[in-house]
């Protein structure tokens, strides 16, 4: 995995602020955060509700924009991209894993995993093969034709992970990936994330409330009221 700045960082957050406006009120969610995530690192963001951890994750993933500060992810200054450029950048560099899986209910498992590949120039058979490979990595190739309603929570999350890795992004961001799972399924997901980090060298940034999940990470950052407490 290549690193493209002086720190060898996949993610470089410099004095990032995020302020929301609600009617006439301004709400500061992130108040000058700075942190680096090295390439290949597994980082957990923790903190109480409202601390800004999900906001920070969204900024790293490029689905929100900082109010001020600089954010470099996978070698790109995310704040300098237009909306269209940001969308393209996300499709190539970011794999997002949601807490509630967010699979498309009318698509089968393999069709869900294929979704990001529709944005590429791959042929239909190439898309299908890559999707099946991603499902194999997460151990669900025998469920490729099942629909989300036919899968357990853990299986749905594994399909979501397959969807996140199918384009081979350098950075995976996970928002409470085990938040909706029982202990056993959560353990399976965390093991999978471990594998993606150690064997496939994916940089992982994970938001979690779960101390057991956080233990899997190399580094834990604690946020409180929009500031890093480490």
């Amino acid at each position: 995995m290549s690193t493209q700045n002086g720190f060898g960082a996949a993610v470089d957050v410099q004095q990032v602020r995020k302020v929301y406006k609600r009617d006439t009120q301004e709400i500061t969610v992130l108040d000058g955060i700075s942190l680096q995530v090295k390439s290949g690192e597994f980082v957990a963001l923790m903190g109480p509700s409202g601390s800004g951890k999900t906001t920070l994750l969204n900024l790293i993933a490029g689905i929100d924009r900082p109010t001020s500060g600089k954010l470099t992810v996978a070698g790109t200054d995310v704040g300098s991209l237009s909306e269209g450029q940001l969308a393209t950048w996300r499709s190539r560099n970011i794999g997002f894993i949601f807490q509630f899986y967010n699979l498309i209910p009318v698509l089968s498992a393999v069709e869900n995993v294929e979704l990001p590949l529709l944005l590429t120039s791959l042929s239909k058979s190439e898309r299908r093969n890559r999707a099946l490979l991603a499902l194999k990595i997460v151990g669900l190739e025998d469920r490729s034709k099942h629909y989300p309603r036919q899968l357990s929570g853990g299986q749905e999350q594994r399909v979501a992970i397959a969807r996140a890795i199918v384009t081979d992004p350098s950075v995976l961001v996970a928002d409470e990936p085990t938040g909706d799972l029982d202990a056993r399924s959560a353990e399976e997901i965390l093991s999978l994330l471990d594998t993606l980090n150690t064997e496939f060298k994916k940089t992982i940034v994970m938001v979690t409330h779960d101390p057991r999940a956080a233990e899997r990470a190399h580094v834990q950052h604690h946020l409180e009221k929009g500031l890093l407490k480490d």
Binding site: I63, G84, A87, T88, R90, S91, F98, N102, L115
Partner: protein, 394 residues
Amino acid sequence: MKYLPYMLKHLRRNWIRTSTTIVGIAVCVFLFCVLRSVLAAVDYGMQSGNANRLITRHAVGLTQQIPVTYQERIRAVPGVKRVAIANWFNGFLGMPPDYRNFFANFAIDPEEYLDMHPEFVLTPDERTAFITDRRGAVVGKELADKHGWKLGSTFQLESTIPPYRVGKPFDFIVRGIYTADKVKNPGTDLTMMFFHFKYLYEATNQRVGVGTYSLQIEDPKQAPAVAKAIDALFENSDAQTKTETEAQFIAGFFALAGNLALLLNLIGTAVAFTILLVTANTMSMAVRERRKEIAVLKTLGFPSGLVMMLILGEALLIGLLGGGVGLLLGGAMIGAMPQMPMIGDLVRGFPNFGMTWPVASLGLGFALFLSLAAGLIPAVTAFRARITDMLRTV
């Protein structure tokens, strides 16, 4: 095309909602095609009127008759070239009469009527045979083919008009089968039948009058002046007349239903607007349900423009399906209308009644426009929505 399976799968997401929306659009297109076809047939029929022919009738209405003696007085009006009696007989075939088998039949002055209607093409022998046989009949080719009539075939008609009922049917023998030059005279009706007015006049003991006089004038530009002169002749008579061009006469039938074009267009517009609102609401609900999904697509890197096009694509597919169903139903209805009671009597008089390619194309285009209009606001909403806002659990 690679997104087509994705769009089709979403149509099946809530198949009840999708199918009822398709049915709604189909109803709209069905109504549009049927109403436009009727209006097109009316317009086409009106074009069949000849500019140098006038019709004189009783000023009160077509159910009133004017005296036979008016013919020579009308002939004497400057500018009038020919005058022929043309009485609507309203006869039906068979004993007892078969009221389902309607066709237009008229009692005419054969020589003068045929002279002023060159669009009815007969051979010289047929024309002579018809003129010389008081019981002779001339029928249109489509009518003859329908009943298997050939020259010399016989049939009977009995009228439903009381003064024309003489206690027994009228006997006819086919002396001529007329055709038409469809290029020169495209609106010519080949389903009519003509016979001698003198046969009717004598069979009723000379008690009947004239329903209409068909006139040919020297100069079409003089039509208003000639019409005025004729009506002035009988202004102070018991049977006052109204003289108008053939096109005005035909248009008058449809004016009996009020401003037909306006009425039909208003109905069509009201239905279309209602369906538009319903479809727009349906699309909005569908997009609102898929907030998270739209957020996921954008997170995965789908550009906002592509997301918007996917939603519009789904709307277009619904429009296409609805339009197709509407066209099929409209075509079936238009095909069946001539056989329907009451409605059939009206539309069978239109020589060109049917769903044309322009009407079908307009109908389908209308369906696509309707669905695009309905899908536009939800699509734009999806385009503009922020990922983080849509990911929030509602």
